[in-house]
């Protein structure tokens, strides 16, 4: 918020490009890099990168709440998990498993959870919102954990990956490369949609709720309705991330509905920079990479959350804008 306004065009060599040209150039460059990545990376890191993209999508969805509407959600695991179990349900019930049906049912599951949370939690502000989202996600966890007949309880559900189908055009098994491209396409598309949403008049109202809720209300906006919409949208994208995760790993487990997933999501946001949309993806990458490297250096049993938790606390105190915070203003134009 303290960055100087960047109204002038950014000089790029001798060319003087406008803001949107630089934005699209940057977007294309990163996308091309991510498209090329699985062709050069070994299998392990290919998987890793795909997973980071999925966590990034989850983090990005919660950034809509934390960064743009000013509400911290500690319950994103519920949306993620419901997306996961929705996809699992579609893949197990319909044969042959259909990719698009899985996405549809996953989104429906997440939307159901989001509607529930939105209806009750948006009556509350700040901390009350944070606490109630946490409690609601725990409700979903208890239900999924104890309703063994449907959800498989502690063991979760195991299923096979659907084919990558584009009706009338394409139908083949997922390879790790095409899966990566598919995930990348979904995440990049989601980014563009979310970016567009935050720049729309609707997104502006969300940001004004963040800055001054009572004034927004006084101007005449139905704040509650905007908050509910924001939670719903956020939940949908989190559910999409859950679907992708389910497809990548071919299982749904109650662990992902547990509070830890929500906590990780918040960490990604804070580390990467809230209110930037790309920051949370970077944060997710940083977190997962650090975790991986720590595990490789000190063994699997190493409590990686101790050093990362300390980094997290230090970030809040000394670098509240996160890694990409310096670019926040520029990214939101």
């Amino acid at each position: 918020m303290t960055t100087a306004p960047l109204d002038k065009a950014i000089p790029l060599g001798r060319l003087r490009l406008g803001h949107s040209a630089v934005f699209w150039l940057g977007f294309c460059a990163v996308t091309v890099l991510l498209i090329a990545a699985p062709l050069v990376l070994p299998e392990f890191w290919r998987r890793f990168l795909t997973e980071v993209l999925i966590w990034g999508l989850l983090a990005m969805s919660s950034d809509l709440l934390i960064g743009y509407t000013g509400m911290i959600s500690f319950g994103h695991s519920a949306f993620f998990g419901l997306g996961m179990y929705g996809a699992a349900g579609a893949l197990l019930m319909v044969s042959p498993p259909n990719l698009w049906l899985a996405i549809l049912l996953g989104l429906a599951g997440a939307a159901g959870a989001a509607l529930f949370v939105a209806f009750f939690s948006t009556r509350l502000r700040d901390i009350y919102f944070a606490i109630t989202t946490l409690i609601f996600s725990q409700i979903f966890y208890v239900i999924i954990f104890t309703w063994t007949a449907v959800t498989g309880g502690e063991n979760g559900l195991i299923f096979t990956r659907p084919h990558l189908t584009i009706p009338l055009l394409y139908n083949a098994r997922f390879t790790s490369t095409t899966l990566h491209w598919f995930v990348l396409a979904v995440v990049a598309g989601s980014y563009l949609i979310l970016h567009r949403i935050t720049q729309s008049p609707f997104g502006m109202v969300l940001q004004s709720i963040r800055e001054n809720e009572s004034r927004t209300r006084a101007i005449g906006y139905a704040v509650e309705r905007y908050k509910m919409m924001s939670v719903m949208l956020s939940g949908l994208f989190a559910g999409l991330a859950g679907v992708l995760y389910a497809i990548q790993n071919e299982f749904a487990a109650p662990d992902f509905v547990y509070f830890l997933t929500s906590g990780d999501t918040v960490i990604y946001n804070v580390l990467g920079g809230i209110g930037t949309l790309v920051g949370p993806i970077v944060g997710a990458g940083f977190f997962q990479l650090a975790r991986q490297l720590l595990a490789q250096a000190f063994g699997d049993q190493f409590p990686y959350l101790i050093p990362l938790g300390l980094v997290f606390i230090a970030t809040i105190i000394f670098l509240p804008q996160g890694i990409l915070g310096f670019a926040r203003r520029w990214l939101n134009r």
């Binding site: 911290i72 109630t132 946490l134 409690i135 938790g309």
Partner: protein
């Protein structure tokens, strides 16, 4: 008449009385945890996400002190003191720099602290559940059960700690400072009250209460690194239902919710009885969003 008699016959009165006693016992422990939480919120506007971890750490330190000295009461006092010091250090290092910033920052910071503490406990003690034996093992007969006196003792001790704390708030020097700071921070500072240190003191007291409840409760359930989250969730529900920052409201809400959960376990599985407290929370949010005991602002 016969139908009515049958109806009364179907109600398990003995079970209900047993569960009433159980509910009051857990309710008082919960009240002790929640009163620390609500105290910290009411005075500092900080939602202490790490409160459950202080409870858990208290239980672990109590376990360590008990193993080395063999005395439960030393464990209780030692754990409270050590966790109080830890709480003060936490407040000075992580929360003091955040005074004046958006209150959401403090939630995030305490969340970070809870992560570190929980993983430290897991790393240090492993996933094995540790047990502290009950300091008094005598029992009395309650219907067909041998009910341990220790549970009654916990209830009395929790009530005594809360009561003592309440008296201290009313008459003690720091207590008066705390109340003054809660009423008007700027004015209190102008009168020469060291407000930052009052904050530290409040945090230390809240932490000590969490640790004390951890040690008191350990003989009933065992000590594990995940006990923090379960209990802090319940404490949050209690604090929201009782009204944030309302000490008396939290105590009543703690007993109320624990009783409901205890009754629910007569008919359903304990893991599903948790849903009852969630339902209470949802109903409270729907009809009295500021808590049962605070007038809803129109």
């Amino acid at each position: 008449m016969g139908a009515l008699g049958q109806f009364f016959h179907a109600i398990p009165f003995d079970l209900i009385i047993i569960q009433t006693v159980n509910g009051i016992v857990t309710g008082m422990i919960l009240a002790l945890i929640a009163s620390g939480l609500t105290l910290i919120f009411g005075i500092m506007d900080v939602v202490n996400f790490a409160h459950g971890e202080l409870f858990m750490l208290g239980a672990y330190i109590g376990f360590v002190v008990f193993v080395t000295t063999g005395s439960f009461w030393l464990a209780l006092i030692g754990a409270s003191l050590i966790v109080a010091i830890l709480g003060a250090a936490m407040q000075i290092v992580a929360l003091r720099p955040l005074i004046g910033r958006d209150p959401l920052n403090t939630i995030l910071a305490t969340f970070g602290i809870s992560l570190v503490l929980q993983n430290y406990a897991l790393w240090q003690f492993g996933p094995v559940v540790r047990k502290i034996p009950e300091p008094i093992s005598s029992q009395f007969t309650l219907f067909y059960l041998q009910y341990p006196w220790y549970r009654i003792l916990i209830t009395v001790l929790s009530a005594a700690i809360i009561g003592g704390f309440w008296l201290y708030l009313k008459y003690g020097k720091l207590g008066v400072w705390i109340r003054a700071t809660a009423q008007d921070r700027v004015m209190a500072q102008a009168m020469g009250i060291p407000v930052p240190w009052v904050y530290t003191g409040v945090f230390a007291i809240g932490a000590a209460m969490a640790a004390a409840s951890g040690v008191l409760f350990a003989p009933m359930v065992g000590v594990s690194h995940t006990m923090g989250l379960d209990w802090v969730l319940k404490a949050f529900i209690v604090v929201v239902v009782g009204g944030m920052g309302n000490l008396a409201g939290s105590i009543v809400a703690a007993i109320f919710i624990s009783l409901l959960e205890a009754y629910a376990t007569i008919w359903v599985d304990p893991s599903q009885a948790v849903i009852v407290s969630f339902v209470v929370l949802i109903l409270t949010l729907l009809f009295r969003p500021t808590g049962l005991f605070v007038a809803t602002p129109r």
